[in-house]
């Protein structure tokens, strides 16, 4: 049985890895501007002479595909960690209130700046200041959650606190929205729709490093996550330092979800759905399998969503967040109903 499941895992990993490479390539080839396949190859081999094609492939599509891979892994891993720590299948990367904190940071920059009389930033959705503001917002929420988690023993209290902080941040965002002008509202709303292509150049490096640190932390947390999913009482009897374990998981989750929110906006759904898809595919609860599998599956899912959002061949695009939801929801419903354990609940 064990051997069988091991073989199964190896095959699945191989299939998903191949899929990842294929989708990465498709995401580079397809886009709203139709570029002949031969030209794409030429540019990729460094031989292309068409400056527009070069810019589109090397400065738009490849960075975007890299961001999709990083953001997909980041969201899925942080979602898995939250589901494990809170032992709640509906938990996701944002339950700690991180995205709300990030939204508040962005809202203060986009909507609040005009009120305070500084020059307006509206329209410059990709500016580094937005990412910085989102990060600060996420970081502040993380600090509060950590402070609470050091004092509170019951994990459910932290879940509730996180949700309350999130609601408070959303309420403040609403106040800012209420008092802002149309163009600023638009800048903010467009940010909330999510986008993978705003990350370019220097920002891509910062984003990449932040996500990689988060992923390394989560890999280091694999043993503690395996114990934590059995319940905190059990973990304690094993003599585990619960506080340290929590801090590590929370920092990793904030780094992952916070960076994605900062650079790409609050991308929904992926973080909740991908861990379920992985669990059902790999039929395991072991995080040494689950963590790498959600990384791959998350990247594949977000790449697929991005390809669809680009509406290949059309001049316009769809908002990424709508695609992640529309693509993902049927998948999750299907997966949930096929699984007896979930359907029976």
């Amino acid at each position: 049985m064990s051997l069988l499941s091991k073989n199964r895992s190896v095959v699945l990993f191989a299939v998903i890895s191949v899929l990842l490479i294929v989708l990465f390539f498709i995401d580079t080839v397809l886009g709203s501007v139709l570029i002949p396949f031969s030209d794409v190859l030429e540019v990729l081999l460094g031989k292309g002479e068409n400056a527009v094609y070069k810019t589109i492939i090397l400065e738009f599509r490849i960075p975007k595909a890299i961001v999709a891979v990083l953001a997909g892994s980041a969201l899925s891993v942080s979602g898995l960690q939250m589901q494990t720590v809170f032992r709640n299948p509906l938990a996701g990367p944002y339950v700690l209130g991180i995205s709300s904190g990030a939204s508040l940071g962005v809202a203060i920059v986009v909507l609040g700046v005009s009120a305070s009389g500084f020059s307006s930033l509206s329209g410059l959705g990709t500016s580094f200041s937005l990412a910085a503001a989102a990060w600060i917002g996420a970081f502040v929420v993380l600090m509060v959650v950590l402070a609470v988690s050091l004092r509170v023993k019951d994990i459910m209290t932290i879940l509730i606190m996180g949700m309350m902080f999130g609601s408070a941040a959303s309420a403040l965002v609403s106040v800012l929205q209420f008092f802002s002008s149309e163009s600023m509202l638009k800048a903010f709303v467009i940010w909330t729709m999510g986008s993978l292509s705003s990350v370019a150049g220097m920002q891509l490096w910062v984003f990449g490093v932040a996500v990689l640190i988060g992923l390394v932390l989560s890999i280091l947390s694999i043993p503690t996550l395996n114990v934590m999913q059995l319940g905190e009482g059990y973990a304690k009897t094993l003599g585990m330092n619960l506080t340290l374990a929590r801090v590590m998981v929370f920092v990793s989750t904030s780094l992952l979800a916070g960076s994605v929110t900062a650079f790409c906006g609050p991308i929904g759904f992926i973080g909740i759905a991908v861990p379920h898809i992985s669990r059902l595919m790999f039929r395991t609860a072991s995080h040494s399998v689950l963590i790498p599998s959600v990384m791959l599956t998350g990247s594949v899912t977000l790449l697929l969503c991005d390809i669809l959002a680009q509406l290949p061949g059309m001049e316009s695009t769809l908002p990424l967040n709508s695609v992640t939801s529309l693509v993902g929801i049927p998948v999750v419903i299907y997966v949930v109903f096929r699984n007896r354990k979930f359907a029976g609940v």
Binding site: V33, V52, K54, S119, L124, K186, M193, T317
Partner: protein, 381 residues
């Protein structure tokens, strides 16, 4: 097959061509010219003289409105007896007005009537120096925005009329509330005019309101002749520059339609708007990739949103560095007359002075053609 397509196109042109002309004819029949104030460009309103004032009609005052019209009775103040208080009656000349958009301020200001203004929406964004002075003196109050309008303040200002920009009827709860408070609200659809002169012609609308019809007529005549002269000056230029416009929001680039206000200004200034094939007046979303392809041919780039320097553009959108227009530096933004609080006079007095905007654009498109110092536009450094 090809012939069939051609035939179809010809038929379509005929059908639509005929429809348009018959529609125009009908409109002319309905509005006997003698009775109306001569309007040559504006589509959004009509002023008809009556025994004791004017009847004012405003058509489709918001984006996408169809077959919507509002009628207002402007009645000379002396003749407005108490029994005669018909619905929508507005005493003219108005002496106390609230302006919910800064363009309204521009029209009133041009007619030397800024003392009429008692309230504005968003006082920080006002550019008119006369009205700024009144705000400092406390003679003009800020009544707030849309849903957050301060009704008590509006009531206490005792306005004869509130000038509002049109919004969809469903979203217009705050306007209903003003109506319930017996404050006449007049929709001003100037921002929907696609013809720059049509937008300026709303001067006549405010002229009727303020009892300054003659002044409005003569002001407009000057603007019109200046505009037409500038336009005809560049009409026969052979090599027209390709003009690119706006700045992306995240990864989406919104372009105005080929018959929009900006597109018409570019055309009249002898420019070749890169996306003139887009229909209508609404804005069209493009992915940043496809926008880049269109932008490669651009000779001039105008209206770069909030970006005020080339460095700002290339640091926020490093991918746009490939555009030849960035290298040549022919990038201009209409922010020269922005005040330190963020109000931009391009959207205020610019509405009434399309002749100056046109001259700016001609100077940008053909630098050696005319002697003119840029008023609203400035080159990005």
């Amino acid at each position: 097959m090809r012939h069939f397509k051609l035939l179809l196109i010809i038929i379509l042109i005929f059908v639509f061509g005929c429809k348009n002309s018959s529609f125009d004819a009908k409109k002319e029949q309905k509005v006997p010219e003698k009775q109306t104030l001569g309007l040559d460009y504006a589509q959004g309103f009509r002023v008809k003289p009556t025994d004791n004032g004017y009847e004012l009609e405003v058509f489709n005052p918001w984006q996408g409105a169809k077959n919507v019209n509002y009628k207002y009775k402007l009645i000379e103040r002396q003749q407005l007896s108490k029994t005669d208080s018909a619905e929508n009656a507005i005493p003219i000349p108005i002496s106390r007005a609230i302006c919910l958009s800064t363009t309204h301020i521009a029209y009133i200001d041009q007619l030397n009537s800024s003392a009429t203004i008692v309230g504005v929406s968003g006082s920080d964004f006002v550019s008119s120096s006369a009205v700024r002075q009144l705000i400092r003196e406390g003679k003009v109050s800020d009544v707030g925005y849309e849903q957050s309008i301060n009704y008590e303040l509006v009531l206490s200002l005792k306005p004869d009329v509130v000038f509002s920009y049109g919004v969809g009827a469903e979203a217009a709860g705050y306007l209903h509330k003003l109506h319930d408070l017996d404050i006449p609200v007049v929709f001003v659809g100037d921002y929907l005019e696609t013809s720059p002169l049509g937008k300026a012609e709303w001067l006549k609308f405010f002229g009727a309101m303020l009892g300054r019809e003659k002044m409005a007529d003569s002001l407009f005549a000057v603007i019109e002749s200046d505009y037409v002269a500038t336009k005809s000056f560049v009409e026969n230029c052979q090599t027209k520059p390709n003009v690119f416009i706006n700045l992306p929001w995240n990864d989406t680039w919104y372009f105005p339609g080929g018959n929009s206000y900006m597109a018409n200004l570019i055309r009249d200034a002898g420019g070749n708007y890169s996306l003139s094939h887009l229909d209508g007046n609404s804005s069209h979303p493009f992915s940043i990739e496809s926008a880049l392809v269109k932008g490669m041919e651009a000779d001039v780039w105008i209206n770069t949103g909030s970006a005020e320097s080339l460095h700002e553009i290339s640091s926020n959108f490093p991918q746009l560095k490939v555009l030849p227009v960035i290298k040549s530096g022919n990038v201009y933004n209409s922010v020269k007359r922005t005040n330190n609080l963020g109000g931009n006079d391009f959207y205020e007095s610019g509405a009434v002075k399309p002749n100056l905007i046109l001259k700016d654009l001609v100077k940008i498109f053909y630098p050696d053609s005319i002697e003119h110092e840029l008023v609203y536009f400035q080159k990005l450094e």
